[in-house]
Every structure is written in structure tokens, then in C-alpha cells.
Amino acid sequence: MENKELLTHLAAEKADGVVTQSDSAEKLVKFLIVQVKDQTYAFYADQIKEIVMNVALYFVPFVPPFIRGFINRHGEPYTVFDLNALFAKETLDSATFLISNFEGDQIAFLASSVIEILKVPDSEVHLITSTDEHDGFFLGAVTSQGAEIFILNLPNIIGRLEHDLETS
């Protein structure tokens, strides 16, 4: 593969997080698999740009319980979402933060740990369509080592904050 082709390949991978093995091979989708207390979730890998640990979490008032505060990344505040507080109504005790690539806002997610980067064929990603409010937090599931892992729907999760602030 020439450099030009390599660069095209790399650009495509950065653009959508999808790895193409070759023109004829099936696409691979990259996920970041994380543990949040006793649950495992999948982020599309291109949604997370950085993982940081053991940084200070700053309290912020007037927010829903699933917003745990701010962290400081390079002098800028990032709003920290606690997925366990959102899904299980119980705050997570951890200092591992996933910095998101979400456009238009500075958002981080609290996680217990990062398990792996998983590459799976596109055919093994099972997307769902549901109007159920809770299911709206998930896009579908992916299977890894026989276990089904829910794929997080970040726009809906982040949209929950807007909804809660509007109705509070």
C-alpha cells in the first residue's frame, strides 16, 4: 500500500471510527469498552479523545445528580456525567474520566475502569430502534467474548441534561 493510500485509510479511520481492512473485507467498528460499577458499556472509540485519571473533581451547584461537577483539562472546565447516577440512581466513586469529542460542549464521563478497545465486524453491531425513554440511552449492543455490551447513545444521554434543566 502506498503512502497516499495509507493516508486515505488513516483519514477515513479518524473521520468515522470505522476501520476498513481492505476493499473486499468487512468493515471493523472500534469501540472503547468501559466498566461503570458492575455494568459494562461501549463507546464508539472516536467519541472519546482522552482518558485521564486522578484529577480533581470540582463541585457545581444547580445541576441534576448525574452531573458530578467539572474537571480541569488544559485549563478548560469539562462537565462530568456520572452514568451510574443516571442509570442506577447511585453515584459512582471513581477518578477515571473519559474526555469526549462531543461537538459544541466540553463533556467527560466518569467510569470505574477502561477494559479494552474492541474491534468488531460491522455485522456484529446490533442497532436498535426504540422510543422507550430509557432505551433511548442505548443505540444497540455489541457482542464480545459471548457477552452483550450496550452501546451508549451519547447525544441522548447529553440531551437528558438539557431536558432536566428545562423541566427543573
Binding site: 451547584p61 480541569n72 485549563g75 434543566l165
Partner: protein, 189 residues
């Protein structure tokens, strides 16, 4: 008048230094500050209005910023000498001055119509701060935080956070909510 680039890039703030976090206030919102020695305790129906003081032969209501901090930010503060920040009501919006007239002055005709006071502790000082160091609140929370009087933040090298607060919004939220809602909108359950 043409401002020099340096003057555009910096601004004077009052920095209120607490152990767990600091607050920075636009210097232009403050009229004066004096040691609070002879405040008289006062029972009030208004949030954080806890005492009275004399200033320029007038009686000023004194709102307790430390109590607001303790309740709202779960903060801690040392018992130290108290300072009164004098706020000139003329610097506030017409709507807020009307609210003050209706809610406070109608109930307490003895109060000054020119000034009010905020009680803070004495670890405070005026400093020039580079505006480039003050960050906006992240977009998803910006509007709500602004409505609550929190306009931005700044991170210090030692790891401490400084919240940039708007005194006018804080005070008038306290007054506006005294009769309708004393929860400070903290309950999202």
C-alpha cells in the same frame, strides 16, 4: 478614550479566598468595603438577610455570602474577621431595582434605597486577572449557571477552582425566591 491592549486583556476582580474554592467578582459591582464590626442581628423572611449595619447615616441590610456559600457549594470557611462589601443599587438593572423596592423596601422602610451590604470573610483582595484565564461554563450548563449567577471559572496552578459570580444575580435570586421557593432549585429528583 482608546484602551491599551494590556488593559483590554486584564480586568480587576475582587477575589474571595475560601479553603475549598474561591470566588471572583467584577470590581465594578462593588462600591466600597469596610470592616463589619457593629452589625445587628436581624430576623428576616428573606434568604441570607441576617443583619443590619450603619453606613453613611443609613441602615443597610446585610446579606450573608458565607451562608450562601456553605449551603450552595457545600463549602467551608474559617471563622475570621468579617467584611461588608457595599453594593450601590444604582449599578443594578432597573428591573432588579424595582424588585428590591417591592420586596425589601416596602417591608422595611428603614432600609437605605441606595446601598445594600454583603457579609464576607476577610480573606479577600482586589487583583488584576488576565481574561484569557477565565473560562466560560461548558455550553450545556452555561445558561442555567448564568441564571444562578455563576458566569465562569478559572483554575489556579495549585489545583483550586475560582468561580466567577455575578453579585446582582445572586442577591436578586435570593430576594425573588424568598417568598416562592427556598430550595434554591437544588432538588432535581
Amino acid at each position: 478614550m482608546t484602551l491599551k491592549p494590556l488593559e483590554l486583556s486584564e480586568h480587576e476582580f475582587l477575589i474571595l479566598d475560601y479553603s475549598s474554592m474561591d470566588f471572583i467578582v467584577n470590581r465594578e459591582q462593588l462600591f466600597a468595603s469596610i470592616i463589619l464590626e457593629d452589625a445587628v442581628e436581624f430576623e428576616s423572611e428573606f434568604n441570607y438577610l441576617s443583619s443590619l449595619m450603619a453606613y453613611r447615616e443609613q441602615t443597610l441590610p446585610v446579606f450573608d455570602f458565607d451562608a450562601f456559600l456553605l449551603e450552595t457549594f457545600s463549602g467551608e470557611f474559617e471563622q475570621s474577621l468579617k467584611v461588608a462589601l457595599i453594593i450601590d443599587l444604582a449599578s443594578f438593572s432597573e428591573g432588579n431595582r424595582s424588585l428590591y423596592q417591592e420586596r425589601i423596601l416596602r417591608e422595611h422602610t428603614e432600609f437605605s434605597s441606595e446601598y445594600l451590604a454583603l457579609k464576607v470573610h476577610s480573606h479577600a483582595g482586589i487583583k488584576r486577572v488576565a481574561l484569557s484565564e477565565v473560562c466560560l461554563i461548558p455550553a450545556g450548563l452555561r445558561e442555567r449557571q448564568s441564571q444562578e449567577g455563576i458566569l465562569g471559572c478559572r483554575f489556579l496552578a495549585g489545583g483550586k477552582i475560582q468561580y466567577f459570580v455575578d453579585i446582582e444575580t445572586l442577591v436578586f435570586n435570593w430576594i425573588a425566591r424568598s417568598e416562592t421557593d427556598t430550595s434554591n432549585y437544588k432538588d432535581f429528583s
